[in-house]
Amino acid sequence: MNLRVTRSRPWIWGFAAAALIWLVILAISGQGGGQTLSLALSLAPYLVIVGLGQMLVVTAGPGNIDVSVAPVISLAGFASVAVSAGTGSALAGVLAGIGVGLVVAVVSTVAILGLAIPPIIATLAAGLVASSVTLHLAGGFTAVPDPGLRELLNLRPLGVPALAVAIAALTWLTVVLLRRTVYGRSLIAVGQNRRAAERAGVPVSRVIATAYLLSGALAGLTGALLATYIAPSADLGTRYLLDSVAVVVIGGTLISGGRAVPVGVWGAALFFILLDGLVNLVGWSTAAQNLLKGGLVLFVLFLAGGGDRARSTAPRLRRRPRPAAATTTTTGDNSDG
């Protein structure tokens, strides 16, 4: 594989790792590979939606992270199922889920921009509020998800899940957002150097607020769809906190901001879903799974940041410790794929 190609296309690694795991699964189970892939494609979109939101927040610059996605997914699940059961409209349910995500994000955004609270604390606090509301709703919850929407989510013409196609379109929209809109470019500018972006006339606060709101809305959407697909529960979103950050990082997005790789989120999400499958196949416990994932994230961060910095020879890059900075982008394009 040409080194220059992989450097300018950091999303290749996620897909390569996913393909590797897929081959291992094939070798161990001896089942049809198409079925495994189809299953992975029906589970990955949920992780991709929340991952795209997380990616936008991470791109906004150092320190920006949304740790409220997990409680938002759980709460949006209950809210959307309750609303769709109450109104009889699946669309109203999905919109309710998105609305819940937006409300929690508004709380985080006000805390981050208005009160200058560090994002990790602000979103943690907003998430705590959301999860206590979830616990309140969960007691004696009897409504069932909309059967029509559930059927739609299970739809697999020719073995390709319809949801996967829809979310692929959403990913493409995100690519367009980052490459072709003023907002996307502003977000990437803010993530690279907030002070410079401010002096260049970028409305920094508005850009950052929008990133958090989009992340909240996308997490709410994930919750609404996931609760219909599986069933609403108080720990519906729990695993999505670590996973959403992990797929962003493994996908090639810079954890320090300024470079977003939407397509990479797909590769990393498929990798994670297949990894889950493999670990289940081998019979490992959940604890071992999490250990493996955590280790992987640290490994990728080491490759992207620590290892690179040690090798960096250009002294001017050292001034701003920025993992995989200009040394890895040869094209200067920050919205690869």
Binding site: Q192, A197, E198, A325, A326
Partner: protein, 525 residues
């Protein structure tokens, strides 16, 4: 409590010139990149004398101080401490040389006593250091600044700016043996009483045999406190005289200023009429106060280049900040603005992007339609500006691969490529080579001729000759306004050092620190 010890008076010698030199600089040169800060400085600081060091912005004062204190090595020449050559950074050689910084070196999160431990731990006991430090800092503060109002348990960030400066000076004095005390603008944030008691203490120190190096822009204070005055100009000592019998105009002349201090009348006449052409006023400050300003009024007409001059940090950047984000009622700006930061690493470059992306980020907003970029139009703008300023490497080069001068061209082009009617320049040409500077000066004049207004803060007075009008700042006020022929380096130096006869207004506590804490703080070098 041996931190309180002062060196024993050295014998009974009366003649100061005969006393042994504490620190000697011999042919010291120092360059930062292409900027030559010191060009062969010879200087002797003798025991028991107060030596005043004066010079304008960029004369090399700070560099010389850092070299004399052993913080910076010199490129050529040598620094001798007590007659022996001392390598920079050697704690053994420079242990008895202490420096009080203008922008204090205290840790804001720690208490006063804890800060004393940081800089004087080698003279504090290992056990019970806190009490020892508290006792000595309190005693010394009482001695130098009676009525200081500081207790050793105060956290530094809770202190006012003046109190912080007091603690900083005392911090420098707290050592078991003090041979040379360097004071960098010690009275800039002190009130008149504190300044008086400080100079009294400096005299006592000198009588006890300590050498004191006093750096100040307040010429009168230097003349009254110092035994000898050394003038630094363009990195070299241009005069070394006894302070007795010198007057303020004498020193200013030695520094390269026109002696004639302009009267108030010349300044106000122009302020009232703008540039006199009657062009449309695009921005106006009306008696702006607060945030480091003490009543600044200025008007900027369309197509005008207005300079903000004076010593660094006298309110020029605060004016730019007001014009960039006109939040208060005393500021009125009727056109769009663009900003050229001077500190390009911190507030200019977007390091992951190439030249074209960096250049067009501001203009992009104007070119786009309904939030969607028009990439072809953006490319045209980039091509135009890369050609016009001859940016090396072209539009596709990574911005971090460029030289500093070319990076600065991109940052300047970013502002001018937009449609902004008012361009704010925050000392953008510091450290830029002469050739690039000349190109950019021409660009500024050309753009002004097209009707754009430019407000230009510069720490290099020679640059101000490219302006239509220049406001000279001192302590948050405009002390003079020069126009046309009046603008010259000499006049600006003369005006920025001329001390008004009215007593200095003591600054409000913590006021000058405020802009640093603001969300989009200032851009210091």
């Amino acid at each position: 409590m041996h931190v309180d010890n002062l060196p024993a008076p050295p014998g009974t010698e009366r003649d100061r010139a005969a006393r042994p030199p504490v620190v000697t600089a011999r042919g010291v040169t120092k360059a930062y990149g292409r900027t030559r800060a010191l060009a062969g400085v010879d200087l002797q600081v003798r025991a028991g004398e107060v030596l005043g060091l004066v010079g304008h912005n960029g004369a090399g004062k700070s560099t010389l101080m850092r070299v004399l204190a052993g913080l910076e090595s010199c490129d050529a020449g040598a620094v001798l401490v007590h007659g022996e050559e001392a390598p920079a950074g050697s704690a053994a050689a420079f242990g008895t040389v202490r420096m009080a910084y203008q922008e204090t070196s205290l840790c804001p999160d720690l208490t006063v006593a804890e800060n004393m431990w940081i800089s004087s731990r080698h003279c504090l006991p290992r056990l019970g250091w806190r009490r020892a430090a508290s006792t000595s800092v309190r005693r010394r503060l009482d001695e130098v600044f009676p009525g200081h109002g500081v207790t050793p348990r105060d956290r530094v960030e809770d202190l006012s700016l003046a109190q912080r400066q007091m603690v900083e000076i005392v911090r420098a004095c707290l050592v078991d043996r003090l041979d040379l005390l360097i004071l960098d603008e010690p009275t800039e944030s002190l009130g008149p009483d504190a300044a008086r008691t400080l100079y009294a203490y400096v005299r006592r120190l000198a009588e006890a045999g300590t050498a004191v190096l006093l750096i100040s822009h307040r010429i009168r204070e230097v003349l009254s406190a110092a035994d000898r005055v050394v003038v630094l100009r363009d990195g070299a000592v241009t005069a070394d005289r006894a302070a007795a019998g010198m007057t303020e105009p004498d020193v200013l002349t030695l520094m390269g200023a026109h002696v004639a201090v302009p009267s108030e009348r010349t300044g106000t006449a122009h302020a009232a009429t703008g540039d006199g052409t009657g062009a449309r006023v695009v921005a106006e400050l009306r008696d702006a106060r607060g945030g480091g300003l003490h009543g600044v009024s200025l008007r900027i007409a369309a197509g005008e280049v207005v300079g903000l001059a004076g010593l660094a940090g006298q309110g020029q950047q605060e004016v730019l900040e007001r014009l960039w984000r006109p939040a208060r009622r005393d500021t009125e700006v009727s056109v769009t603005r663009a900003y050229v930061p001077g500190d390009r690493q911190r507030s200019g470059l977007l390091p992951l992007w190439n030249v074209g992306d960096n250049l067009v980020v501001t203009a992009m907003r104007g070119i786009a339609r309904r939030g969607l970029r028009r990439i072809a139009d953006e490319r045209d703008v980039v091509r135009h500006w890369v050609e016009r300023l001859a940016v090396k490497g072209g539009a596709d080069a990574g911005i971090t691969e460029l030289s500093g001068g070319n990076q600065q061209k991109v940052v300047v082009a970013r502002a001018f490529a937009s449609t902004a009617g008012l361009v704010l320049l925050d000392d953008p040409f510091r450290g830029v080579d002469v050739h690039t500077k000349t190109e950019l000066y021409r660009l500024i004049r050309e753009e002004a001729a097209k009707g754009r207004s430019i407000v230009w803060y510069s720490s290099e007075n020679a640059e101000m000759a490219h302006c239509d009008r220049v406001h000279v700042f001192r302590a948050g006020r405009t002390v003079a306004e020069l126009a046309g022929e009046e603008i010259s380096e000499e006049r600006i130096i003369a005006v920025s050092f001329a001390e008004s006869d009215e007593p200095d207004v003591p600054k409000e506590p913590g006021e000058s620190g405020a802009p640093d804490r603001a969300a989009h703080g200032r851009t210091h070098g």
